[in-house]
Subunit: 245 residues, 2 copies
DNA sequence: CGGTAACTTGACTTAAATCAACAATAGTGG
DNA sequence: CCACTATTGTTGATTTAAGTCAAGTTACCG
């Protein structure tokens, strides 16, 4: 689709919040902006729909676009030459991805489930950011949140046991679900065991065993592979922080 | 020292580049700005000198300041309640630290050696950033570089062997030294083995053994504990990326 | 020069990986 | 709707990379 097509898309004003970022109003990319600012953003955005398990872009690709996730879920990952994989983030509605330096994406992005996102051409978004400081700051704060999360993940990867890793992972997913207006439990696991393993620096066997172990101690329940019920969130949180719960 | 004292400090204009960020001109916080922009920044900065092994701030402290490192080196780390530590970054001249969300630092900062830094009160820097887009973008790009580095470190922590971790670490230190105008080899190691271990998710014994092993294969030499000579940078780089060098 | 802290090396242990079935789940086509 | 197959997930047996425990050794500092 060309830029002209994008501009021709219906733009639903004067709705106060961007319809396509309706989840996570507090921190979403385009929430709380005024009419003119939304029009500027809408004029350069392109709304996209992806199938489950679809590639959005690959590490090393020309970084032409920034994406704001509006529904669904995405994983970001890096590969070593022999196929070892590290997932560097799971994204949910309200998160953005695709920011890059050196004009190349530093990770690959793939959907976990059927997903919708707004796409913003990097160059045009740069221009909007330069002219609308509140948007620049919005993008900055989202990037900073990613950085804080990355630091927490480094602590997890470098210093936590398998049990602590899983406890932290489930706690974090639950907290983020609450931020998006969902219940703290049960937590949806839209990713495979293999994805969880590659996010936590473990193998699928260890992920499976550890979840079984947490189930046996009554801290969680596993109604099905795609869902976890948190039965004792205090114990889970305690475990996540290195306590001996 | 009060804000008035800061303002009373001699400001060396019309020097084109901030004297205190003279290393790493390309990416440094205050390089390449015009006279008015430098004056604005200088008016809110406070120049500091720290001893070696001095605490700059602790995780959880009120995040009142942002720091731009001008000489020396700093480590950023997070702790678990039982004392396990993860170093989330080593910083060198040209790097900034102390950016935070929620008004709390997400990590502790300590000097490795005698260090000088510019300190900017968060509130006042916010104001300058709002009014001077080029400064906002400068801070943004430095934060984004940190994020890219954090992603690389997640790949290292989650998926690389001890040997690959050390190879990556030395390669990265060497590359950054070059960026600051130093030689690619020998590489200075201003941090202890314990710091290296806590950065790479290893123990000091494994760090020591692995360095000895790399020395035995002739890839590096260890003239003393604080320095590494890279004898075969191609082999080291190959190892770092998971090759079987 | 003495003493402490930092680093190295060695012996042994262990948490998680690997290898190997097996079970459950989800698609697919009859 | 139900077999049939492929994929994903679980569990068990064994291995291994890195951790732990324990000396030594070197370097640094008062």
């Amino acid at each position: 689709m060309s830029l002209l097509d994008t501009l021709a898309e219906p733009v639903d004003f004067p709705t106060p919040a961007c319809k396509h970022c309706e989840v996570n109003r507090e921190q979403a990319f385009c929430s709380g902006l005024n009419r003119d600012q939304l029009i500027r953003l809408a004029s350069i955005r392109h709304q996209l729909r992806f199938e489950a398990h679809a590639s959005v872009f690959d590490e090393g690709d020309q970084a032409d676009n920034v994406y704001a996730l509006t529904s669904g879920a995405v994983k970001l990952y890096k590969l070593l030459s022999d196929g070892r994989r590290q997932i560097v983030g799971f994204l949910f509605p309200g998160d953005i991805f695709g920011l890059a330096i050196d004009d190349r994406y530093a990770y690959s992005a793939e959907t976990l489930v059927s997903t919708t996102a707004c796409r913003f051409p990097h160059r045009q978004l740069d221009n909007v950011r330069e002219n609308i400081p509140v948007i620049e700051r919005r993008v900055f704060n989202l990037a900073l949140k990613d950085l804080v999360r990355a630091h927490e993940q480094m602590l997890l990867l470098g210093r936590k046991s398998a049990r602590e890793k899983l406890a932290t992972f489930l706690t974090s997913l639950s907290r983020r679900a609450v931020e998006r207006g969902h219940a703290a439990s049960p937590v949806a696991l839209p990713m495979s065991r293999s994805d969880i393993a590659d996010f936590l620096g473990l193998t699928i066997e260890t992920v499976s065993r550890t979840l079984t172990q947490l189930k046996k101690t009554g801290i969680i329940a596993l109604p099905d592979t795609g869902q976890v019920t948190i039965r004792n969130s205090a114990a889970l949180a305690e475990l996540a922080e290195g306590g001996q719960a």
